[in-house]
Symmetry: D2
């Protein structure tokens, strides 16, 4: 069986998903919609798809699933529309920047019994997935402490930052999802510190660029997250899980893995400089998992609920950073 896709949003991340759909033998890209007609046309023609309006896709009988890559503030509305239209939905994170709006959206999805998967791509990275598998295999015993280091090569444009919901909701949210993925238990307490060290303009825009977070679960498991909007050596993405019987870690990936030795020492090239090349396999595996979920009828993961909880952790972290208090999630809800 081939799953027939429509892609909503032909921008940067839309292209990534188009490629993932296009190269998956169990999928075909049937339609592309974008407010900018040229973007839609270019992407559609590259994959032998048609340009269609969102309305046309909503009504189409030859579309099984949609991939939502439009601007963030349209996600919740589109999810609701396509849930009602009976399509399976893959939506880029976040569903919405407001947790209340997310809850309302998920209620609609539930009522429609629609399949919804949220784009936390890192779970599908082969190396991070292998860490999860090692935990599941009992290789490190009981998980005790998770360490996540996540640094971008450089800050995004200021106008992006002003629309992003802030570093916790835009960047750390991926790490909150990874923390839950690796801890295997819900965090109930969050302490966060946040500074402006990279660019003062980020601070003037009301955001931070450097954050440290501690999460704690009910049983006392801990997770540390370190974020920076700057890393001169590339896209720094590491996870480490410490348990009662050992530790498992995934190191950074490099596009070229040679080493040069001379009188200055031993030098390896920098890391990937862009999340799309770093996570190219993850994006392909993510769409494949979505297809499997839809065609097998299994529950899609990460779910809308996963998206909501990660957002709640981001909200709690922001509140903690501003208040100087540990925020408890069990009491908050």
């Amino acid at each position: 069986m081939t799953l027939r896709f429509a892609l909503l949003g032909a921008g940067r991340i839309g292209k990534v998903h188009a490629r993932a759909v296009g190269s998956n033998p169990q999928a075909s890209l049937v339609a592309v919609a974008d407010a900018f007609e040229k973007a839609a046309t270019d992407l559609a023609s590259a994959y032998g798809a048609e340009v269609r309006s969102i309305e046309a896709i909503e009504k189409a009988g030859d579309i099984d699933a949609v991939v939502i890559c439009t601007p963030t503030d349209t996600h919740a509305d589109l999810i609701e529309r396509f849930a009602k239209a009976g399509k399976a939905i893959f939506c880029e994170k976040p569903i919405h920047l407001d947790a209340k709006r997310v809850e309302k959206c998920l209620a609609v999805v539930d009522k429609a019994k629609a399949t919804l998967m949220v784009g936390f791509n890192r779970r599908f990275d082969p190396h991070f997935a292998a860490v999860r598998k090692a935990i599941d295999d009992g290789a490190i015993g009981t998980v005790e402490m998770v360490t996540i280091t996540s640094r971008d090569p450089g800050p995004p444009p200021l106008d992006y930052i002003s629309r992003s919901g802030g570093i916790f909701r835009d960047m750390t949210i991926h790490d909150f999802d990874m923390a839950r993925f690796l801890l295997g238990e819900e965090p109930v307490a969050v302490s966060a510190h946040a500074s402006v060290l990279v660019d003062k303009k980020i601070g003037e825009a009301g955001d931070f660029d450097s954050v440290s977070v501690i999460l704690e679960t009910a049983s006392g498991k801990q997770c540390i997250i370190s974020n920076s909007r700057r890393a001169t050596y590339g896209y720094d993405q590491r996870i480490e899980v410490h348990g009662s019987r050992g530790m498992v870690a995934a190191e950074n990936q490099r596009p070229v893995s040679i080493e040069l030795a001379n009188d200055k020492g031993y030098t390896r090239p920098p890391l990937h400089d862009f999340f799309m090349t770093r996570y190219i396999d993850a994006y392909a595996n993510e769409i494949a998992a979505f297809i499997t979920a839809v065609t097998s009828g299994k529950k899609a993961a990460p779910s809308g609920k996963d998206g909501l909880v990660a957002l709640e952790l981001a909200d709690a972290a922001l509140k903690s950073a501003k208040s100087g208090k540990t925020v408890r999630l069990d009491k908050a809800s």
Copy 2:
């Protein structure tokens, strides 16, 4: 411009090249030929190509280039036929196991002014290519000593070995090509030792499974090659180039790069266990280079001559291993 391909031979390596052609935006796979009709049909249908006979491909007006993946003993004949037919030719190594036959074949190619590229895929591995680039950039000064370690996860079937021309012509030949690629100067002397350490049956079939080779160029640059038909830890493929100002090396690649630490120590998973997964990028880059050569009119490399010289080094190594003497190539010719 799109280059229109026919694929001759739909076996294991044929499938690798079909994928490389099929996923290249500048290429289309038009036809597939194979003595086993089902193999041809399956592969053709997967890429929207037709099944055709070799004769039909020879005469076809809609075919620009052929990829030859048929059994070794047919390579030279097919190269000659398609050179005369005016097609650009990509041929898997080796052209023939007999250097005299290769010379004759190359004369036909020259006379036809045909484009011929030989499948030494390792030159196109991104990491090995980066080593070559570092040398070209002057990062290590003058090349002095090259070390190539190349070990297979396990020996091939005995019937393959009996048809292979022996380990030097089948396996070490890749390392001879890498040696020339990295030394930047022709080897003129070869010393080789060869043993049967992995499987006595390989010895009974008249071959070796473990070899060490030293190559030396006219200016005294040296290259060491170490081969084994066995490596429990995976497909071991390393190169190291030592020069007057430094050293550059490409380490092994791993499909999963996690590390597990416990009371036994720190453990990383084994290497790739198959040349096709290890060199998946190399095969894609190789076909891309062939397409660029054909469409731009530039000289294809590695050329038929490169194939011939690597074979002559293999012949010399075998002669050295059997005679206990260094074989000089400058005097031999």
Copy 3:
């Protein structure tokens, strides 16, 4: 000039310092004191020193400096006695578990104009010192975020824990000193989480075995500390400093650095399993630095004040872990 030492306390850490003094060409070990006479006699005879009482050492004309390795609750008293006696003092950390008592002790030291150095040995590890030097050399620009991972192979005996002052004052205190050493700016805010994950009896004794701490300086620099009383793979001691222009890190040290590859993967042996073998060079360098300070008249570092500030950070971390609030040190004092 040779500095003449007396050693107070001939236990485990006393032996470490005896060796450091004994093998330093600028030092001689003249006397050893210990409540257990056999311990004193054994150690003294191994280094050609005499056994003396503390009183005798206090009055001795042939002793320039003392190394205090007695139980923690005697440190402050002994420091005061030997400061008044005109000896240079090297004291194992901590000076006292009560910050008020430390302050009073330091006032006595100041009044006596005595030289006092506190035993934060990690500053003298060659690798950690090289990290500090890289920072000083400008290699990473402005320091932004420090990450310290510090895990013991296993928990100490329960009776030790009950006398230790708790994990923050006993174990994390080393990391607080390293944080200050690396941040180059005083932490002003501390958030900590603490759990009992390793051994319930540690919790019953009123202590924790797993902690995560965030420190923040006035300018917003952050430091993360991760501690566990358990690490199956050995004594885990890592630091990483992220700055505006790069990152510098010191990885773990191993007593044996071979690697074994087989069908299970690539395995390196575990880390050092004991702080004394891990930090053997650090202890030697530490005593050498003390000798240099005394003989050159330069200020000894880490100073008594450094000991006090690390203790205050430990107190703040404990308060934060218990209260669920960030503790500010600028307001606290």
Copy 4:
């Protein structure tokens, strides 16, 4: 029991051995002899030893063992003298540059039933010893192929080279001993290539600076050795042993093991730049092993015979490099 030593030769390597003796609790350095009186006096006074003549040491009742660190051409004579004088003998390699003279010397040692150990320090490096132990433990199955990479930071003075016996007898001889140590079977065939790539003056002095060697044992095990008199990145000393069930390797050691990451990539400092710092532990372990052999009455290893066989391999390699033929040792003897 304490072994009482005399040191013959107070030069560079003499100082290394004096320290090893001086810091060993089972040894005491009683006397030092050197043609240059000041060298003898300085070294003797640093260790509380006396300066004595060789004759006085020969007759002394308070000397159990001698360490011979005098110029190479005096080794065989001194060994014979002290064997007859009933002293245990540790002699720096080589015994003599002429194998015939070595044989004659060893006959004298045998007749005197003297203990003689030859200074192949690398066997005592903790990492190389751990490789040998892994082999003994069966970790890699049957040894098949050994790879030894050994490169000096830079060439020695030309006058040293002219007295050294050539690169095979001076430098590669260490690798020949390591090859025997790791192969566990005698090499019977040697093929070598030798060039002058580093400094033409070395060639004018009749020597080489870059060599590649293949050794083969009777059962077909192979060993590759790569030597250069130049390595800009430090003292390059690696071994790798490939077997039927796996591979074990010892990587290079570094004095400082930090890593700096920036926009140029990830850089670790260069290796040790001097054999004495690289092998400081090996020298201490070597003397300890000698002491154990003497005091326990066990056979000292490496023995005089080990010194002779390594020299014969060096002679064979030189002959092979010059003749272009594999030299067989079983036929040669």
